[in-house]
């Protein structure tokens, strides 16, 4: 589908994803539509099944042939401490079927402000903030249809986390990339996404525009998240 000079991306859809762990259902059949370049937050308390849903979503969209990138919670969950940054980068390129060195590394590094990182070093030779940005840069190779971020800020210091989110936000807008943000923190999600999906006990219980959920949450789970979304919103 080509309209004018820009490529319009397809809408993404997953339906009836479910998951079991040791005989227990941890995700009941769940569906979600993601419009091109849409920003969706999957929110819920711990154990609500949001990360499980996120993983199932990635695997399913991959099977459908879409390019989906993932950024785990902490760089420790994304980078092999025994391998250099250059190795990780080339590995990611090869996995996408690109020849090593063909991805526009300079541009992505400049976007995320990590041009100064030494690629010969191993992950622990970089600060954690820079590692996390490197992982995000890797996820953006080849402009995927969707990037899935799992608690992307929790391993970072607030100032670095905020700056990283801002840089990422800008890049996603420019490149028309959709985003799914998985977090327990509705306050964080509401700043960066236009639609929210609220999870509870393995069910997707509520799905609506961010403002609607903030103003008129329907379910108990959403009401609790809204009431606790930031420290000042509470009756102290």
């Amino acid at each position: 589908m080509v309209s004018g000079s820009t490529v319009t991306k397809l809408a993404l859809r997953v339906s009836d994803l479910s998951a079991m762990r040791s005989g227990r259902t941890i995700l009941y059949p769940t569906s979600l539509n993601i419009a091109p370049a849409e920003r969706i937050g999957i929110v819920g308390s711990s154990g609500s099944g949001k990360s499980t849903f996120g993983h199932a979503l990635i695997d399913d969209l991959r099977r459908q042939g879409h390019s989906v990138a993932q950024v785990p919670q902490s760089p420790d969950e994304a980078l092999d401490p025994l391998r250099s940054m250059a190795f990780h980068w080339q590995e990611a390129e090869r996995a996408l079927g690109l020849k090593p060195g063909t991805a526009d590394r300079e541009a992505l590094f400049a976007t995320l402000k990590i041009e100064k990182g030494d690629m010969r070093k191993r992950p622990w030779g970089w600060s954690r903030g820079m590692q996390q940005r490197f992982v995000i840069a890797m996820a953006l190779i080849g402009a995927p249809d969707l990037i899935v971020l799992d608690e992307p800020t929790s391993a970072l210091d607030p100032v670095v986390a905020a700056a990283t989110m801002q840089l990422l936000d800008q890049h996603l807008t420019e490149q028309n990339i959709a985003m799914v943000l998985i977090t327990h923190d509705l306050g964080l999600a509401s700043k960066w996404v236009s639609k929210l999906a609220v999870m509870q006990d393995g069910h997707l219980v509520e799905e609506a525009a961010t403002q609607d959920i903030l103003n008129t949450p329907q379910t108990k789970a959403a009401q609790s998240l809204v009431a606790h979304r930031n420290w000042m919103a509470l009756p102290c």
């Binding site: 308390s45 711990s46 954690r128 800020t153 210091d157 607030p158 100032v159 670095v160 986390a161 905020a162 700056a163 989110m165 801002q166 327990h184 923190d185 509705l186 306050g187 964080l188 999600a189 509401s190 700043k191 609790s224 998240l225 606790h228 979304r229 930031n230 420290w231 000042m232 919103a233 509470l234 102290c236």
Partner: protein, 241 residues
Amino acid sequence: MLTVDTIAVKRGSKLALQNIAFTLAAGKTLAVVGESGAGKSTLIAAILGFLKPIQGQIAWSGQPVRSCRPALVMQEPRAAFNPVLPLRRSVLEPVVAAGQSVPEARIKRLCDGLEIKEEILERRPNEVSIGQAQRVGILRALIAAPPLVLFDEPLSALDAVTQKHTARLIRDLQAEEGFAALIVTHDLGYAVAHSDEIAVLRAGQIEEISTPQQFVTAPKAGYCQALRDAAIALGGLEAAA
């Protein structure tokens, strides 16, 4: 009253803290915020007497801090307990160490205050949720009625809803018990909502000590301002109207 009088602390050959000075009165809460590596954990170790300042002094009402038997609440709730013992044994440690009798009534009252059932004390750390484990951690800290309690990132292992709930329980207990609380956190929203004063630590030095109100409306230009703006961008704080 806790008095930290212009201390400097070394870690190895590096100066980890310098020029740190503040006081903390009974019943009051001081939040220490800063990024990782700023010296927050070093400060706690110094107050507890595990690290000796190379300069300046730390005292509780003129006495060494150890003499008031301060308590510590740690970041990882489950790791703070012996994994093979029922929680009750761990909870009673401070009392047993002091050679006192088991204060059943107090356990019951604190359990009520922390909204946990007394039965869960019979379980082992991995048989309770993280949120419950952290409340049992607070119970253990408070069991011997310490006048000073140090909290090291007490909420960062919990989810957003549990965080706020636990914070409120801590504050209500503090109002009843009257202990002085020093809370180390990277979460500016928590600091603003639940402390009387905020100290911003950066690279081993205090950038600014101010009230939450001041901090939200007019933080010191530079790092403190960046910290406030970041908290707003990440949804932890609302911009002042």
